[in-house]
């Protein structure tokens, strides 16, 4: 009779190592497992970067180390949705690391995720995003920017 509980334990140990949370389980080839973990992190990073360009490119050289920290702490969301993955990544970061464009990207994501009213400072003005059903209304308050 197959032992599903033990089977699950072994798979969890493998998965934890692949997601950089745990050492290589006994018997596995460490080089192969490191290569697999790096490939999975790279694939996930590419997906998040495509869904959150302002956030990720705005981080510059900080992106990869920060993303590795995030991967260790946070498994991917249920459906492998990179928009949701990037949302969680953005919220894991200290606010001061976000560029103005990244803050705008995050504000739109908050609106898409159900926030009725979101505001983000842009220089001397404030961008307000109001969500009404599937519609979004944007309004800039404050001094207009000279061209």
């Amino acid at each position: 009779m197959a032992d599903r509980e033990q089977y699950a334990e072994r798979q969890k140990a493998f998965l934890d190592a692949l997601q950089l949370r745990a050492p290589v389980p006994e018997g596995f080839d460490a080089n192969d497992l490191d290569a697999a973990a790096a490939a999975l992190t790279r694939k996930r990073a590419a997906g998040v970067r495509a869904a959150w360009p302002a956030l990720c490119y705005g981080l510059g050289e900080e992106f990869l180390p920060r993303f590795r920290d995030y991967v260790q702490a946070t498994p991917p969301p249920c459906e492998g949705d990179y928009a949701a993955d990037g949302f969680a990544f953005a919220r894991s970061l200290p606010r001061e690391l976000l560029t103005e464009q990244a803050k705008v990207e995050l504000a739109f994501a908050r609106a898409a995720n159900g926030s009725r009213l979101t505001a983000v400072r842009q220089g001397r003005s404030i961008l307000v995003i109001a969500a009404w059903g599937r519609r979004r209304f944007c309004l800039t308050l404050g001094r207009s920017q000279p061209f």
Binding site: A8, K12, F14, A36, G80
Partner: protein
């Protein structure tokens, strides 16, 4: 048993110009990416055109420790009905463990115990589906220790045990053969080729001495050669290109499809 599918490509909005240019292409859609009640417009158009569309699951976790989630099976069945699919496909892989998502299809241990668990999971899936299920083997840079079967033996045993069809991925076979030291052509002698529903072909790249099955790079010549070798063993009912990102110009994708058509001996 296999429907005649011909040449196909995995649906992505970015690939619609290529799909539109060839009305005979069949389509595969990642089941978890779409809502069966509200298909994306491009996909709905292809269904309305009467194209063959195959839902391809990536999160059933048939190689996992738990029986497949009835809600996921219901979604797969509904989507199959909505697009009029002749079959659906999934992986011999686990996608989560103890509730933690992998975000990828991960390899299973090749043991008798795993075989029993996966066969029971597959049987539960088959019972919930009105259409045949095809099982795809995965590529993996990291393998489980102490296998009791080699890879083609394990796949053959599972297909025999479950009566499922085989989705043979020549790129995965090439990747694992290259990275883990077996000859993918010899593997064709062991795999149940008569059970093939259709074939996957995807691109990849060599990085740090390992072949990576990325689906974001061009299809390499060695994979096309393996496809040609497979086609020499008997006619193929369907061959599908998987391109998930790094999309090239439409003409390049078209040229890649033509190269696959030639290698596979599709008319």
């Amino acid at each position: 048993m296999s429907p005649e599918l011909g040449l196909g490509i995995g649906w992505r909005p970015e690939l619609e110009p290529v799909i539109d240019s060839d009305p005979d292409l069949f389509i595969e859609v990642i089941a978890e990416n779409v809502n069966s009640e509200h298909l994306p417009p491009g996909l709905a158009r292809y269904v309305a055109q009467g194209r063959q569309v195959i839902p391809h699951g990536i999160r059933l976790s048939l190689g996992g420790a738990e029986l497949p989630d009835p809600k996921r099976l219901e979604h797969l069945q509904r989507l199959a009905a909505r697009v009029g699919a002749p079959l659906v496909s999934e992986h011999i892989a686990f996608a989560r463990a103890h509730g933690v998502e992998a975000g990828h299809v991960l390899p299973v241990p090749r043991t008798q115990e795993a075989l029993e668990i996966i066969a029971a999971n597959v049987a539960a899936a088959q019972a919930a589906l009105d259409v045949p299920l095809a099982l795809e083997h995965v590529s993996a840079l990291s393998e489980w220790p102490d296998p009791e079967f080699n890879e083609p033996e394990f796949i053959a045993a599972l297909i025999r045990e479950t009566g499922a069809a085989l989705l043979l991925d020549v790129s995965n076979l090439y990747a694992n053969g290259t990275n883990h030291g077996f000859d993918p052509v010899e593997a064709l002698d062991v795999l149940p080729l008569e059970r093939i529903a259709y074939v996957h072909v995807g691109g990849g790249v060599v990085r740090d001495g390992r072949y990576h099955d990325t689906h974001t790079d061009p299809v390499v010549g060695e994979v096309l050669n393996l496809l040609a070798e497979l086609a020499r063993r008997g006619p193929l009912s369907g061959v599908l290109l998987e391109r998930d990102g790094g999309f090239p110009a439409d003409a390049e994708t078209q040229a890649e499809l033509n190269a696959i058509r030639d290698a596979a001996g599709l008319g």
